[in-house]
């Protein structure tokens, strides 16, 4: 797989969808392509968040520790991003992510510092990301309203 395909993968992620392709290409070029064997941890809950990962091949499970043991909360498939909150603000990882399935998990690792440097250089990127985050808030507000309505009904 070459940088072109990785750029396409980045394009399919809502957070990056509106960015122009030259910048996405630069982001892909700067990012590391990493392969994890099935079962290998990508990161663990409580780690400091230094990078986001985009799934290019294979799949990963997201789990959190609970008093009753770890619980799987999500599965990540191709072109999904994980850990993006960590590269925007300094919070420890809120969940475990590990490779699952039988084939190796291939990810694009976007370093926090590189990403921030890129945003600093191209403020339009920052604006796009703000828009995407705002959309998410609108969406979760709507979900919250729905949930409240369902509860009171």
């Amino acid at each position: 797989m070459s940088i072109k395909e990785e750029t396409d993968a980045l394009k399919r992620i809502p957070l990056f969808a509106k960015l122009d392709s030259a910048k996405l290409k630069l982001l892909a070029f700067m990012s590391q392509r990493l392969s994890f064997d099935p079962g290998q941890a990508v990161f663990a809950q409580g780690d400091s968040g230094d990078a986001a990962y985009i799934v290019l091949e294979g799949e990963a499970v997201v789990s959190i520790d609970t008093p009753g043991g770890p619980i799987e909360i999500a599965r990540l498939l191709k072109n999904e991003i994980v850990g993006e909150i960590a590269i925007l603000c300094d919070v420890p990882r809120t969940a475990h992510v590990r490779a699952s399935g039988t084939a190796p998990l291939v990810c694009l690792k976007i370093e926090k510092d590189d990403f921030m440097a890129l945003v600093n250089e191209f403020p339009s990127m920052g604006v796009e990301i703000m828009r995407e985050l705002a959309r998410r808030i609108v969406r979760s507000n709507a979900q919250l309203r729905q949930a409240m309505a369902a509860k009171s009904a």
Binding site: M1, I3, E6, A22, K23, L26, M30, R33, E121, F122
Partner: protein
């Protein structure tokens, strides 16, 4: 070497006289007297060379007063021609002897001057070694260096001449004057008649020059100081935007120097003018007075010609004397200015740096301070009447606020501060009277910013063991003995720096080899062993001088290979390393590495230089690869321009990611524009210099890392063909250390030799996993020590610049511990180490110190917990003294520093 009262006197160059003439006289009486005698003898022959021409003219040529044939010395009979030749022969002989003597005197003078220069330089350096430590805050090395090197050089040239030169010239002048008087007193008077006038006026003019010279030196020194300030404060200058003000300041200073220098020049040239003028006037007197006398028949023509010749000879020594006078003034001034800087107050007495004949007695016993005071200058008191007793083997922490006296006390205990009142006694011996060498052998000191010498880790570790030569050779090579004797003649120390100075016994080792084990243990204690091991892994060895190590590393390479693949493979390492295989393209190496398949020994074969290397290009061309590379380069350039064109120049991404430097991006853009595909879709050819630029780009491509999709199977196959061609090419032999699975690669690090491949990109945590596996392997193979030894050879750089501040402190701790001191003084020694490492280093140091008395001044009061006793200093006095728990509980300054 002299022994006096049991002390080996290190020649200290004596007191530095304020007058250069006294300095020269004191150290060159014998030589000067010898030269005087030779000068006197030379005058006889010189007189002959003056007198003979007259005889040749009068007797030989004109035959006046002679009857031929004539008898000489009652032995030979000469006719007139024969006699003329005889006189000429005599003249030649006199010239020869006179010239020979002059040459000999000059050579003596040269030796004398060079010795005096050597002595002066040595005396200056010797003084620097004895400067009071606080003085180094006032003088910078920027001031001291030019004084010892450049400024003294000019003075040194003069010192050989100081007495001999004027003496020689004056003697010549006197001889000529005598000759003239003998010929005719009136002629003699005429010749010297103008000298008194010159002798009167020149010093008058020179006086002003002297004053100006002083001004000049001061002005130039001031400029050096200002340059130092500008360099040191460059960030302030830039951020304050004061470049214009700074420039104006320099312009002003250079203006002053210009005025002084031009003034000096004018005055000097005036002196020269007066001299020349008067000298040229003198022949006028000869022609008029001498001509008159010849016409009157009172003087022979021969005598007049001889007198004219003699007077012409006279101008040279006279001019030399005047030049000498100016040079002497100049030299005296420079000498004074230098020497003044080397007499600071409170220098360590010279005797304390002499080498005691008996070995160091040690510093065991209690440390007793009575009424100790330390002053920085007349006003500032750092310590006031401190009285304490510290038991031998005690562990004492010095705490308290910064500047409260704990630092000063630590420095006083190491005699870096000279106490101004009271005394420090260790085991009954007064610290102020102990020779440096005895203190150095038995007391370890580590300051807050330890210095390391530009040498290996090992050399720095043994630095504390070099107080004196320990083994002198039984018989010294005669050439070496002469070398040392010459040192003594110039007042330099005549101990041989090439003898063995390292006292391994003090470290508890029998010899250098045994010391390595001790070094390993100490470095382990101070938490530096792992770092040194890593230095070793990154280090290189010469397999010829260490065949056993190279062999062992090759065995490790083979063992590591078995862990990567095959029946014994370690599953954790699967796919993490791509070994170098002569028959396969390495996806994780650059294209250049794949082509060369070796480590460049000649810088012309480094990746950055490769595109201009003719032999490399020849192989590419022969394989038809040149065009492929240029085309690939064009594609890389296109991508780079696309990716990086929007970034401002100087952005960190260029350095880290781009194949093209920011400054060159526009050049590549222009090339791309020139070769852009035309209407037919085919790009036009890249020509000329552009080719080399394009060709260089793909060389840096690592297929697995850059993922540009430019390297396909066909390309790889052609690279492999070129690789074989390279290995076989004559031009590359000896310039590249080729990767050979069965041979040690001397140009690569030990780590690379074991790995013999590249860690794969794109495998999660590959670097860490591989590094760990390699270490495990080395441990099981028992190779750790061998690699550690290579790490000890790691060069630390000037001032230890290649070490991190924490590593420098740890190495200094190990150095202080290596001599197994009786007293170990630590002065904020841990502050530069990271918080977790601080405690490890402290505990390790205390454990390694054994029975030594340890006194540690520490900013972090919590660390005092590890010490049995804590002394708290504030305002230069002892504020509290007790154990940690007690002090931590009691109200007082210690509790405050704990919470703060």
């Amino acid at each position: 070497m002299d022994f006096l009262g049991g002390f080996l006197i290190l020649r200290d160059g004596g007191e530095l006289d304020r007058s250069i003439f006294r300095f020269v006289w004191r150290f060159s009486v014998k030589e000067t007297v010898l030269v005087c005698l030779l000068v006197a003898v030379a005058q006889v022959f010189y007189y002959v060379t003056l007198n003979l021409p007259k005889n040749i003219m009068n007797q030989g040529i004109e035959g006046r007063g002679m009857s031929y044939p004539t008898e000489v010395l009652g032995l030979f009979q000469f006719d007139q021609i024969g006699y003329l030749l005889w006189l000429c022969g005599l003249f030649f002989l006199a010239v020869l002897v006179n010239g020979g003597l002059k040459q000999y005197i000059n050579s003596l003078k040269g030796k004398l001057g060079e010795r005096l220069l050597r002595r002066l330089r040595y005396a200056l350096v010797e003084r620097i070694l004895r400067f009071p430590v606080p003085h180094f805050r006032k003088v910078s090395s920027g001031e001291l260096i030019p004084m010892v090197t450049a400024e003294v050089e000019q003075v040194g040239g003069f010192m050989g001449d100081a007495y001999v030169h004027p003496l020689m010239q004056a003697a010549m002048l006197l001889t000529i004057a005598t000759f003239l008087f003998v010929q005719n007193p009136i002629m003699g008077l005429a010749a010297i008649s103008l000298y008194p006038f010159q002798a009167y006026i020149v010093p008058k003019l020179q006086k002003r020059v002297k004053a100006l010279g002083k001004e000049r030196i001061k002005a130039v020194r001031k400029v050096s100081e200002r340059i130092g300030e500008t360099v040191g404060g460059i960030q302030e200058v830039r951020t304050a935007g004061t470049a214009a003000w700074e420039r104006a300041d320099y312009a002003e200073r250079f203006g002053t120097i210009f005025r002084i220098r031009f003034d000096i020049y004018q005055r000097k040239s005036l002196v020269k003018f007066i001299n020349n003028f008067l000298n040229q006037c003198a022949p006028l007197l000869f022609y008029s007075i001498g001509g008159y006398l010849v016409i009157r028949g009172e003087l022979t023509l021969g005598a007049l010609v001889a007198a004219l010749t003699a007077h012409k000879d006279m101008t040279a020594p006279w001019k030399e004397l005047l030049d000498y006078y100016q040079a002497a003034q100049d030299a005296q001034q420079k000498y004074e200015q230098v020497v003044e800087q080397f007499r600071p107050e409170a220098m360590l007495p010279a005797a304390l740096q002499d080498l005691p004949a008996e070995p160091a007695p040690g510093l065991s016993g209690p440390i007793v301070l009575s009424g100790v005071g330390v002053q920085e200058d007349a006003q500032t008191k750092l310590l006031e009447s401190i009285s304490l007793t510290i038991d031998p083997g005690a562990r004492v922490a010095l705490a308290g606020p910064a500047g409260g006296g704990r630092e000063a006390l630590a420095m006083a205990l190491a005699r870096l501060h000279i106490v101004s009142g009271g005394s420090i006694k260790i085991g009954g011996r007064d610290l102020a009277r102990l020779p440096d060498a005895h203190i150095g052998a038995s007391l370890g000191y580590v300051g807050p910013a330890a210095y390391h010498f530009s040498a290996s880790v090992r050399e720095n570790l043994v630095y504390g063991l070099r107080q004196r030569p320990v083994v002198a050779p039984d018989a010294r090579d005669p050439a070496r003995a002469r070398w040392l004797a010459e040192a003594a003649r110039a007042g330099n120390l005549d101990l041989d720096v090439n003898d063995e100075w390292i006292d391994y016994a003090r470290a508890g080792a029998a010899d250098a080899a045994a010391f390595d084990a001790i070094a390993a243990r100490l470095l382990e204690k101070v938490d530096l062993a792992e770092d040194v091991f890593v230095f070793g892994l990154r280090g290189r060895i010469d397999p010829k001088s260490k065949p056993a190590v190279a062999e062992a590393i090759l065995a490790a390479r083979a063992a590591f290979r078995r862990r990567l693949a095959g029946p014994d493979a370690d599953p954790a390492l699967k796919g993490l390393v791509e070994p170098f295989d002569p028959a396969a393209y390495n996806e994780n190496a650059t294209v250049a590495e794949n082509l060369l398949f070796g480590t460049p020994l000649d810088p012309a074969f480094e990746t950055d230089a490769l595109s201009g290397q003719p032999d490399f290009l020849a192989v590419l061309r022969a394989r038809g690869l040149e065009e492929v590379f240029v085309e690939m380069g064009r594609k890389v350039a296109e991508i780079m321009v696309e990716l990086f064109a929007d970034l401002p120049a100087g952005h960190e991404f260029f350095e880290r990611f781009s194949f093209i430097a920011a400054d060159d991006l526009s050049v590549y853009q222009a090339i791309l524009a020139r070769t852009a595909p035309g209407p037919d879709g085919a790009p036009s050819a890249v020509v000329g210099e552009d080719r080399a630029r394009m060709l260089g780009l793909p060389l840096k491509l690592v297929n697995a890392r850059h993922r540009l999709g430019l390297i396909d199977a066909a390309f790889k196959a052609r690279v492999l063909e070129a690789r074989a061609a390279f290995a076989g090419a004559k031009a590359t032999q000896g310039k590249i250390a080729f990767f050979d699975p069965d041979a040690y690669n001397a140009a690569a690090s030990i780590q690379d030799n074991i790995l013999f491949g590249r860690v794969a990109y794109g495998q999660a945590k590959a670097q860490a996993t591989v590094a760990k596996a390699m270490r495990d392997l080395l441990d099981t193979m028992g190779l750790r020590e061998r690699i550690f030894e290579v790490g000890l050879e790691f060069q630390v750089g000037v001032g230890g610049a290649r070490l991190s501040p924490a590593q420098r402190q740890k190495l200094a701790l190990a150095r202080a511990l290596a001599k197994r001191p009786d007293v170990l003084v630590l002065n904020d020694a841990f502050a530069a180490i990271d918080p977790a490492g601080q405690w490890r280093a402290l505990e390790g140091t205390l454990a390694a110190a054994g029975s030594a008395t340890v006194i540690a001044s520490m900013g972090d009061s919590r660390m005092a917990e590890k010490f049995a006793r804590t002394i708290v200093l504030a305002d230069g006095r002892v504020a509290q003294d007790g154990d940690f728990a007690g002090l931590a509980a009691a109200d007082g300054p210690f509790k405050e520093t704990l919470s703060g």
